[in-house]
Symmetry: C2
Subunit: 308 residues, 2 copies
C-alpha cells in the first residue's frame, strides 16, 4: 500500500480571497489531495486537510504557508480561537504505511524551510517537541500573537528554528507530528457564553475533564447560540460517545438543549465505529467488518499476491 | 475503479469438514476474495461473503455450490433457519462500478449452470424474480425442504431452471440479485422463546413491523438465552438505530434485558454512519467525511487523472 500522510493546516483567516489562494496552492501540488476545509468568521480561521506522499504533502504545506504569510496581517486579526501566527499550526499525521517518526522528520523539514524562506520563528510540538512542555499546543500559544514579542525572548521559549522575534505580520508558526485525532463541535441552545464555558471546563483535560480532550466554549454570532469546540487527541482511550454523554449530562444541569453536532475536519473511521458499537451494544466493531473496507483491503492484498 | 460484486452464499451445514471444503473452493478461485463467514449449530447454516469481479465471483459461487451439493444431505438436516436446499440462497450484490442488472445477469448464469450440472431446481428471487411474488424469499421457502416435493409441482411454483422435482439430497436452490443489506442479531437475556418470538413479530414486516425488516426469534442452545435475528433490506429507509430502539422498547415491556448485538456478515458503512449520526445528533454523516474513505477516493481519483 502506498505511503500516505495527512496534514491538517490551520491558517488565521476567513477572508474569501485568501482562503481561495491558500487552497489553490494545495490543489495545484501534484499527488497532494485536498480532503476537506472549513472556515468561519467567528473563529476567523481556515482548517485544511490534505493527504498524499510525504514529498507532495510537504510541498503543498510549504506553498500554502508561503501564500498565507504573504496575505495575512496578524496585526489586524481577531478571532475566538487561540492563535500565534498567520500559519498557526501545521501538524503532519501518519495515515497508511507511515510512522509518527516519518512525520516528525517531515515537520522538521517544513519548519526549517519556512523559517529560512520567511524569517518566521518556528516551534516544534507534539511528537516533534524538543522539550516535554512543548508537546502541548496551549503552552506554546500562551498569550497568543499579542504577547508573542515578550514571550519569545524568554530563555525557555526560544523558537526551534528562525529568529527569536515575531514576524511582524505573520507572528510565529507551530509545526509537528501527531496521531490522527477527532475534532468535534456541539451546538448548544443557549446564547449564554458563560454557561457554554462552564460545560467546556467539565470536559477539558486542563480543568480535570477527560485526559485526551481539549474543549472550549464559543459564541456563534448572529445565531443566538453557543458551541463547544473539542479536539479528542486519543479517541481510542476516550471514545466520543463518552465525551458526548458527559457533555449532555452537564448541559442538562443548566437545562440547555443540544441542538446538533458535527465533526470538525475528517472523521476517523474507528472513532465513528466506536460510537455505533456503544449505542447498539456491539461488543467489538472493527474496521475490517465494514463491507467497503474489507473489499478494498482484499483487493489490495490480492493485487500484491498477483504481483508476486 | 474496478468492477466489483459481492456474493453472500448460504449453505445448509455447520459440519466442520463440509465448511472447510466449501470455503476452500472460494479461496482457490483467482480474484475472488473471501471477506467473512459464520456458521453455528443452532441455525446449522454457513453464511459466506466473498467479492471480486463478476467472472471470479460467479466461478467461486459455482465451485462452492457444487461442493456443497456433493457433501450435504438435506434428508438429515435440522436447523432453526428456514431453508429449501443444501445450497439454500445465493444472492449477488453490486458493490462498486456495477449495477443490480449486472447482478441479475450473473445470478441467471449461476442458476442455469447449476441446474444443468446437478439437476437441481432453481428459483430466481429479488431483482431477478420472474413473477412479483417470487421476489420474496419467504414465499419461495414456504413449507421448506420437507414440503418441497408437493409444492414444486404446483403450476405457480415451477422452478425457473432445472427439473420440477427436488434434488433428493440437495432440495432446491434460490438465487438472484439484491442491494446491499444489513444482517443484525440481538441477544436477549431470556431463555423464553415465546417472548423472543413476540418481540420479533413487532419488528417483522409481514406482521406489521418495519417494511424493510425481517425478524425471527431463535434459541441459542446451551447458553440459556434467545436471539432476534434480523435482516434489514433497506437500511437507508429503515435505519438500524430505529430498529434497535423499537426492539429495546418491546424488550422493556417484558423486562427482558438486551445482552448484546452483532452484525451478521459484513456491515455496510452507511448503516454504521447513520447509527453514530443519530445518537450524537449529527445532521448528516456521509462516507466521504470519513478520513480513510476520503483518502482512498482521493488517491484513486488522482491515479485516474495521472493516467490521462
Amino acid at each position: 500500500m502506498r505511503k500516505t500522510i495527512e496534514c491538517v493546516a490551520n491558517f488565521s483567516t476567513s477572508e474569501r480571497k485568501s482562503v481561495e489562494a491558500i487552497l489553490g496552492e494545495i490543489r495545484r501540488t501534484p499527488q497532494a489531495y485536498l480532503l476537506d476545509y472549513t472556515y468561519d468568521d467567528y473563529y476567523n480561521r481556515l482548517v485544511v486537510s490534505f493527504a498524499g506522499t510525504e514529498e507532495s504533502v510537504l510541498q503543498a504545506a510549504l506553498s500554502a504557508s508561503s501564500r498565507a504569510i504573504d496575505l495575512i496581517d496578524m496585526r489586524k486579526h481577531k478571532g475566538q480561537h487561540p492563535r500565534l501566527g498567520a500559519v498557526d499550526v501545521v501538524p503532519f499525521i501518519p495515515i497508511r504505511n507511515t510512522t509518527i517518526d516519518d512525520c516528525v522528520k517531515v515537520s522538521k523539514e517544513f519548519g526549517r524551510t519556512l523559517a529560512a524562506q520567511h524569517s518566521v520563528p518556528i516551534y516544534l510540538y507534539g511528537a516533534a517537541a524538543t522539550k516535554p512542555e512543548r508537546s502541548d499546543l496551549d503552552w506554546i500559544r500562551k498569550g497568543e500573537y499579542e504577547a508573542l514579542a515578550e514571550m519569545i525572548v524568554q530563555p525557555d521559549r526560544r523558537p526551534d528554528f528562525g529568529p527569536a522575534e515575531p514576524h511582524a505580520t505573520a507572528g510565529a508558526t507551530i509545526t509537528g507530528a501527531r496521531k490522527v485525532m477527532a475534532g468535534f463541535n456541539v451546538n448548544l441552545g443557549t446564547s449564554d457564553l458563560s454557561t457554554a464555558k462552564k460545560i467546556a471546563r467539565a470536559l477539558h483535560a486542563g480543568k480535570g475533564g477527560f485526559a485526551t480532550v481539549k474543549a472550549m466554549g464559543a459564541e456563534i454570532p448572529g445565531k443566538g447560540i453557543t458551541q463547544i469546540g473539542m479536539s479528542i487527541t486519543d479517541f481510542e482511550k476516550t471514545p466520543l460517545y463518552r465525551v458526548f454523554e458527559l457533555l449532555k449530562l452537564e448541559a442538562d444541569r443548566y437545562n440547555v438543549p443540544i441542538l446538533g453536532s458535527e465533526f470538525c475536519g475528517m472523521a476517523p473511521l474507528q472513532s465513528v465505529l466506536a460510537i455505533a458499537a456503544y449505542y447498539l451494544k456491539i461488543d467489538n466493531l472493527e474496521a475490517n467488518r465494514i463491507l467497503e473496507v474489507a473489499v478494498q483491503n482484499a483487493i489490495e492484498k490480492g493485487d500484491q499476491g498477483d504481483q508476486k
